[in-house]
């Protein structure tokens, strides 16, 4: 049994559990086929939606479940759907955001490649909830294999009458388009994504108006993350009351965590929200501890734009509120781990290069600021840092934060500010001595 991506998952645990629905079948190679998906209970929620529920009931159920956006922002999905203006005569659009590109994040790819019908079913139910008859999935361009899988699944769904005209005889029509991107992180932001589908450059748009009011082609548009939508069929099948028994009171349900970096067993693990971060990193079921038995130095808990945690902060619950209390964010659930032989300035050179490269250039603070930050940070890393550089970096960060149209600017500065606050002495050492306090040792494995 082999998959396109050899990524490790906890599918076996999910298969035995009653509360980890997303990964239940992701190690079944037949799951991409519609017959297998249906045999596993797939498309029952879609049928139930069309034959037994009103759109208001669907929205109500998802609101009751407390499902929050899994792409990073954590906004309640049902509440978002409720923002589509009632009685609007314009077409409404649903976009499934599969532009997964926040460094550290590789969770949606598992669903796209191994359980595409779950994504389609969630999209269909969400479409019905907002009265949408043409839904899109925006898949990052590099995920060519995932797009092929999704197109094949879509063709099957049409053939078996899950999409198309008069679905299940209920009079509802729904079409789907698989749209692939062109390599731009910013297109994961919903207004940039909308521009991208319209054939424009992927610059973010000013809000308001919010996409729910005026999005794609000027029409009401809802953009939801892959994992968010894949969670919806389970809520419809088993009810919001069941879903909210999972996780914590305010962070309900399960969530996929992408664990990467210096751990023995990197992988994608579906856990209940509220799972302990330390357990994710060290449990033999998941990360299995740090490679080479080295000491942990730090963790980025929610994708590259979230503030760092130090080893004494990782005994924390992985939910939206607990991580906020710890001064960081759950974000996309991408946990990046690094050990003691890693220079913090070196890490930040990688992150700032990314944000400088991905800044769309529309807002001056982000366009100019990320370029200056990269210059200063590289100068420090290369041993040419000058007194005052740290303060200069902090000042530039403060002039970007909150001053841009989209969150890319904030995303660029949050890890930098946190890295300085958490390891200020290391930055200072770098400037004073012209070299790293700890030399980074991250070598390519020889293999066999």
């Amino acid at each position: 049994m082999s998959f396109y991506s050899p990524v490790r998952t906890n599918a076996q645990e999910a298969a035995k559990s009653d509360s980890l629905p997303l990964f239940r079948f992701v190690e079944d190679p037949e799951q991409t086929k519609i017959d297998t998906y249906e045999a596993h209970g797939g498309y029952q929620a879609w049928r139930k939606t069309l034959t037994e529920m009103t759109p208001e009931q669907v929205v109500g159920e998802v609101k009751n479940a407390g499902l929050r956006g899994r792409g990073g922002a954590g906004f309640p999905a049902g509440v978002k759907w409720g923002f589509v203006p009632k009685g609007s005569t314009k077409p409404k659009y649903l976009i499934c955001n599969a532009d997964e590109s926040e460094p550290g994040t590789c969770k949606d790819r598992v669903l796209l490649e191994r359980d595409p019908h779950a994504v389609i079913e969630g999209m269909a139910i969400a479409s019905y909830a907002i009265d949408c008859h043409l839904m899109f999935i925006y898949i990052r361009g590099e995920f060519g294999y995932a797009a092929d899988v999704m197109r094949a699944a879509m063709a099957e769904a049409y053939k078996k009458g899950q999409l198309g005209k008069n679905i299940h005889g209920g009079g509802y029509d729904l079409d789907m388009i698989v749209h692939t991107g062109g390599g731009a992180y910013v297109c994961g932001e919903e207004t940039a994504q909308t521009n991208s589908i319209e054939g424009r450059r992927g610059n973010a748009r000013m809000k308001p108006p919010f996409p729910a009011v005026a999005g794609l082609y000027g029409c009401p548009t809802i953009v939801n993350n892959v994992e968010t939508l894949a969670s919806v069929p389970h809520i419809i099948n088993r009810g919001g009351d069941w879903y909210k028994t999972l996780g914590t009171e305010k962070s309900t349900g399960s969530k996929i965590f992408s664990l990467s970096g210096h751990v023995r067993q990197p992988g994608n693990y579906e856990l209940l929200l509220g799972h302990n971060l330390k357990d994710l990193i060290y449990s033999p079921k998941y990360g299995g501890g740090i490679i080479g038995d080295k000491k942990l130095k730090g963790v980025i808990p929610g994708g590259s734009s979230t503030p760092f945690l130090k080893p004494d902060q990782i005994d924390v619950s992985l939910d939206y509120e607990s991580l906020a209390s710890a001064g960081t964010m759950l974000g996309s659930g991408a946990v990046i781990v690094f050990h003691e032989e890693t220079c913090i300035v070196w890490i930040i050179t990688k992150l700032i290069r990314f944000y400088r490269h991905e800044s769309c250039g529309k807002c001056t603070p982000c366009r100019e600021g990320t370029a200056w930050l990269e210059l200063l940070i590289n100068r420090i890393e290369q041993g040419g840092g000058k007194p005052g550089d740290i303060e200069k970096i902090e000042s530039i960060c403060d002039n970007i934060m909150g001053r841009t149209v989209c969150p890319l600017g904030d995303a660029a500065v949050m890890p930098i500010k946190s890295a300085i606050a958490q390891w200020r002495d290391e930055w200072q050492y770098h400037i004073d001595h012209g070299k790293c306090l700890v030399e980074t040792k991250c070598e390519l494995a020889p293999g066999n």
Partner: protein, 164 residues
Amino acid sequence: MILTPESVTRIKDAAALYPQAKSAILPAITIAYRQVGHLNPDLYGEIAGILDIPAVEVAEAASFYTMFPKEPVGKYLIQVCHNISCALLGAEGLLSYLQDKLDIEVGETTSDNLFTLVRVECLGSCATAPMMQINHDYYENLSRAEVDRIIEKLTAEAQSGGTL
């Protein structure tokens, strides 16, 4: 025309799906890239003609998206992810290993026109780092030995006249 009749048909089919033809720019660019291996202004003109929109709109969009090379590249475009999760597991070493092995710098193409080596940002394969993309395929959990096998396989494929 550079675009083959098949590509033209595919672009027209894509355009028919959308409420507005301009939405087919990115699909059309992707189709052109898959056929030619890179993009250029002649292709923008051809796409604009098919979609009946100004060529500048195609060029404007194309210039934004970094996934498509704007100049000819080797038969195999090797894109090494150098972002954080890959860097922590040796992406810099992977790059220098490939540079030495292929005897080119990043951004260059081998003299036999087989391999072009570039570095790219996160490809969403972080839990199977380090990794690289060659043309349209991902190669994950890389090691020096694995890279040796991949390059050997592709070289053999090219010598036996294999296609992309």
